[in-house]
Symmetry: C2
Subunit: 707 residues, 2 copies
């Protein structure tokens, strides 16, 4: 990339106070990036246009050149497929008069005469600046249909070649580019290279806010950008401040696993938040030091009280705030002097009620003393390995392998209630609220190295620094599943967009693509988030794609297969020898193949034998069980035999994901609970949910490169 | 429509043993239907081609004419946009040599020279023959993208004008046809008229199996079919036999509400199916006559037994069969002589195990005696208003307003278990199994006039006579919600297709469109089917589209709004006066607008006042409540106040749909149950489900024309 040349163009644009490049300027930038553009010339008369066309060779396309006319087609400023000189001359006049009618005051530099590339697909390659994720590369099909289908892919810029290829193959209409009905395929390598170049350009030059190569003609022998639009922002937003991973980790370890906790605003009075926090710390069984801070009392709930954190003799890792918003800044400064690592700001009354100044003041104090802030406007957090309930909610003590966080208190309470009801083992539950400081990427950095956490589930409405999240998640998700519920996904706000690419960058599509790029599993609903959190640490990682359904009810089998297709799970094509092996166990009118339909009237042995075979055969990587309630194999008999046979094979070192759907009378509820207690996800009255949790595990394992 | 002319063309095709029409034949059919086609002529030399083009006017398109070459583009047999005589002459030679290379043995009739319509959208209008639904009209955008996106709409033929318009506006890319980026809009009325004509053509002529108008050029001034392909089936399938609605009703009323039931194979022996059926009839509280049939016993479970139904003195409405498959036909003949209305065939061992002959034999006996058959291979059925449990499963006695049916026994057991667990009031639960005779449309006809049924929920894998179902459902769904879970939706089988339109007619898209046309709500999962069945009769019909969310948790509000968008519910734009009225009840930092965020720390009065306002104001048509567990308003307090205020307004004649999402600790589960007991759908730990059930009610009400 010839950075000097690009810099010179941008400097000239800036000097003239413009925010977009003319076509010749854009071409100069393309040349500097080695982006192929068609042969072309600028004509200022009909005669000259014909002469240029003669040099370039027919057919040509002609386009108005005017800094004021951005949407050329709408202005009648584009005529394509001109095959002879007479047509070119006529087109020149038409374009000029159209442009004058469209924008009477526009400065017209002339008409661009450009080589047309035939036999190629029209695509869009571009780049946008996202408020949360920063510079993004974009790719989509050209033409009007792309606007209707919004079939565009996004990735963080700079974009690696492999991800660029994934973008090309990730759009809904990807098949088109592979060649349909005899059309030649596009050169995907050349297209990917073009995406990479554009992504590098916007990454390198912060002031380039939008790029639109539209259309790009992508044929079997390369890709040519036929029209280029580049928008600059003379004053681009500064990238957010980021502590290093080491700094984050040092602070988060002290906050999440503190040896001492101060409660600012501890209270002896029932019903007060400062009382609930004290009780939860004590009743939860936290074994570190608990220091109540109170202006007058000598003791709170049997613990010696202090006027200020500064009066405490030993070190203090974390301070939980249970005082009114207006008193937070002063108390926080004292924490700063005491070198407290983190402040858990339960109080509300900050940005969420419009009081942004107060929040900014608190953040400034924290920055001054290098204290990390959780909240404000939160329920607090739980970290079960330390029996730590730093919250005014109820204690929670079922230890387990999943860490959850929520931006909103309501969702946090749903997490606590669901966890308790489902007996879900958690390592941590964290409320992030206003996210004035600590956010999801800080938590990810902590959970990544926390041996008590094997999976992470997060609810959020926005990301303060989407890029930091994506980069951290991409690293963490390689080791531990990260599930996300992004709320507000359908109410995507309109954004000011000057380029075509930017207009296509709806919030949700961007989140979807970037989360996918980061290897994050996206839950589509609150209940899915909770169920995935519950099941992902329970399910072993599959070793391959072959899923087999074993069912006692043919009808369930069909529904389970539907769900597998929805989740892109691969129903194994049953090898003949394995088919024969299954057939030995099932009645002659049962169906082997996949689903294996053992039929409804079978005894426990048939379930046991077929499931054992499914576990034993190394070609099968995961089992979906469909149980049908009968007198011959009652629900609890099924539940026991399944957990036994799975346990038996686990003991032999064979640990495959097994999920179950149970249909029948109410006894199937108890049987499902029993299976869950034995680490087998099992659900009554639904064929979708067991497959969804398996699907989520697969989605993660594939992106993490484990299968 | 000139039926004589069309008949003559078809007769000629049949006489020559062909199954497709040549282009001139197809044109003749179009002329007879007043379907506009471009000006054209057939050239057999390059010179003649140029002469024809001169007459027609430029530009022209040229196409090979050969009965053996169906995919002309693939054969290199189409050249478009020819603008002068020299090009036409050259194109003639190219097309002929391409065609000879593609299909050396093909008979080549010449090259068609055809007027090109400019400035128009390319669309496809067609018709196909579906094995279940019969003749269907199809509509989609032309070009290669349609194949990739499968963006096509289907309706039963003949298609009314309104439905044809709905097809045009129902495709994903409908926006294109309304004019995008300065392109002129298509004449939708002309396009709809074209769809209607094609649909009438295939409806009138059974032997026309596929029609493909592709492309149709649809411009602002009409639609012209540029290429026409018509496929005939000389021996079209006969339409299925259908009893009249009166006959169906007479039989179904006797079967579902019998005054007397015979049990063929009644048994005194525990564990036998014939024993379970007897017990369920007696223990269920059925008050009609129960006649056990047994070869030897004098009495079964205290009821006088008979050797044969023929020995019974009084009339017998229905006979439940609990004997082996092979014995069914003979016993059924006796039922026939006794003029039994219906036989409930519990036994398996028929078509589902490959024994189709035995099933055909039983069906033949039933036809001979005019007995309707339920099953075989079913659990039986329940009809609670008569306390009738004609099944070997357990009795079910919670009476209510929803009737459910399932094709599979497994799903049937899920219905029974879920119903019991959720205390769901049902009028009927019916197993249809192999559907040798009685199927979904018979049930719909019965439930339509059954005052005990207010909503109908059905699971099926296929429809024996999809057209009968669609026609009956279209009538019934105007009065009572019909919800369907179509299983096997993703495993759409490949079908032999000779036309482009037919290749696009994936099973599931056809089901989706036709069920929508019939006004049926389609559940996407087993659990949705069950939840919709539970809630639809509980929710009053909304009087308009304005939905308001009232929430104590801002985070839930965002998720509830997401779910509303997913279900196409319209969040009311809050009028300023109403906004002010809400503001009076909520804290200054709460958010009015929609969602109304009352904030989490509020007392019961705030929930009560805002909900009352929502019920009172006539501009609001439905409420979605988001509850957040706090000490100030505990879950049960919320549940009681909501049911009270809803009840209060119901007493005043204001009955709006109200649904609730509860997040919090485990007490929200009890509160949700309480609300359900008071006819308010309420769910813990999910923001999606309460909105989904409201969305399903809206979907139904809109299609039924009630809002």
């Amino acid at each position: 990339m010839d950075k000097t040349a690009i810099g010179a163009v941008l400097a000239a644009v800036k000097a003239q106070g413009r925010t977009s490049l003319t076509a010749p300027e854009a071409k100069a930038v393309c040349d500097a990036c080695a982006i192929a553009v068609p042969r072309e010339g600028l004509a200022t008369s009909a005669k000259q246009a014909a002469a240029i066309a003669g040099e370039i060779g027919y057919p040509v396309v002609m386009k108005i050149v005017s800094p004021q006319i951005l949407h050329k087609t709408e202005a009648g400023g584009v005529i394509t497929n001109l095959t002879k000189a007479a047509d070119v001359r006529k087109a020149y006049q038409t374009i000029i008069s159209n442009a004058k009618a469209y924008a009477p005051n526009a400065t017209i530099h002339g008409v661009q005469v450009q080589q047309m590339v035939r036999g190629a697909h029209e695509v869009i390659v571009g780049a946008v600046t996202d408020p949360s994720f920063g510079k993004l590369a974009a790719f989509g099909l050209g033409g009007v249909l792309v606007e209707v289908h919004k079939d565009v892919a996004f990735r963080l810029a700079p974009t690696p070649h492999q991800e660029a290829l994934a973008m090309i193959n990730g759009i809904g209409a990807a098949q088109i580019l592979r060649g349909v009905r005899g059309a030649p395929p596009a050169d995907q390598e050349a297209l990917a290279a073009l995406i990479c170049k554009v992504s590098q350009l916007v990454d390198e030059f912060a002031e380039i806010s939008e790029v639109d190569l539209n259309p790009v003609f992508a044929g079997p022998e390369g890709a040519v950008a036929a029209d280029v639009r580049i928008i600059v922002d003379p004053d681009p937003p500064a990238p957010p401040v980021r502590p290093s991973q080491t700094e984050i980790l040092a602070a988060m370890n002290r906050i999440m696993r503190p040896d001492s906790v101060a409660v600012i605003g501890a209270s002896a009075e029932d019903g007060k938040i400062g009382n609930s926090v004290m009780r939860n710390l004590i009743d939860g069984g936290y074994r570190g030091e608990i220091y109540p801070i109170h202006p007058r009392l000598e003791e709170v709930l049997g613990k010696k009280a202090y006027r200020s954190v500064k009066d405490i003799a030993g070190p203090v890792d974390v301070a939980v705030f249970a005082i009114p918003a207006r008193a937070v800044a002063a108390a926080l400064a004292e924490c700063g002097e005491k070198r407290v690592a983190g402040a858990v700001l339960i109080p509300s009354g900050f940005a969420e009620t419009g009081n942004r100044d107060l929040q900014d003041e608190v953040v400034a104090v924290a920055r001054r003393y290098n204290i990390r802030l959780m909240g404000p406007n939160i329920y607090g957090f739980y970290y079960t390995p330390k029996n730590l309930c730093a919250t005014f909610c109820t204690p929670y003590d079922v230890k387990g392998k999943v860490a959850l966080s929520s931006q909103s208190g309501g969702v946090g309470m749903a997490i606590v209630g669901f966890s308790r009801s489902a007996k879900m083992g958690v390592s941590a539950i964290v409320g992030l609220g206003n996210k004035s400081d600590i956010d999801e990427d800080d938590l990810l950095t902590f959970f990544e190295q926390d041996d008590n956490t094997q999976a992470i589930a997060m609810h959020f409405e926005d990301l303060k620094d989407g890029r930091a999240f994506a980069e951290t998640a991409a690293r963490v998700a390689k080791k531990k599943p990260v599930v996300v519920l992004k709320a507000g996904r359908t109410a995507s706000g309109a954004r000011a967009a000057r380029s075509h690419t930017a207009a296509l960058a709806g919030d949700d599509r961007v989140y979807d693509d970037i989360l996918h790029q980061a290897g994050v599993v996206r839950a589509r609903s609150l209940n899915d988030l909770l169920q995935f959190a519950r099941c992902l640490p329970m399910l072993p990682t599959p070793r391959g794609e072959n899923v087999v359904i074993i069912t006692g009810a043919g009808g369930s089998g069909v529904l389970l297969a539907d769900a597998c297709t929805d989740w892109r799970l691969q129903l194994m094509a049953m090898p003949p020898d394995l088919d024969e092996a299954f057939k030995k166990f099932i009645p002659p009118f049962g169906a082997s193949g996949n689903p294996v339909d053992i039929t409804g009237g079978e005894p426990p042995a048939t379930y046991r034998n077929t499931i054992a075979l499914g576990l034993q055969d190394a070609r099968i990587h995961a089992l979906v069980l469909g149980y049908w309630h009968t007198i011959i194999t009652p629900p609890m008999v099924f539940a026991r035999l399944v957990s036994e046979v799975v346990e038996e094979y686990r003991a032999r070192g064979v640990d495959k994901p097994v999920v179950a759907s149970l249909v029948g009378d109410v006894e199937v509820e108890e049987a499902s609970r029993y299976l869950f207690d034995h680490n087998i996800p099992a659900y009554p009255y639904t064929t979708e949910l067991p497959v969804a949790v398996l699907g989520a595990k697969y989605q993660w394992a594939r992106r993490a490169g484990l299968i």
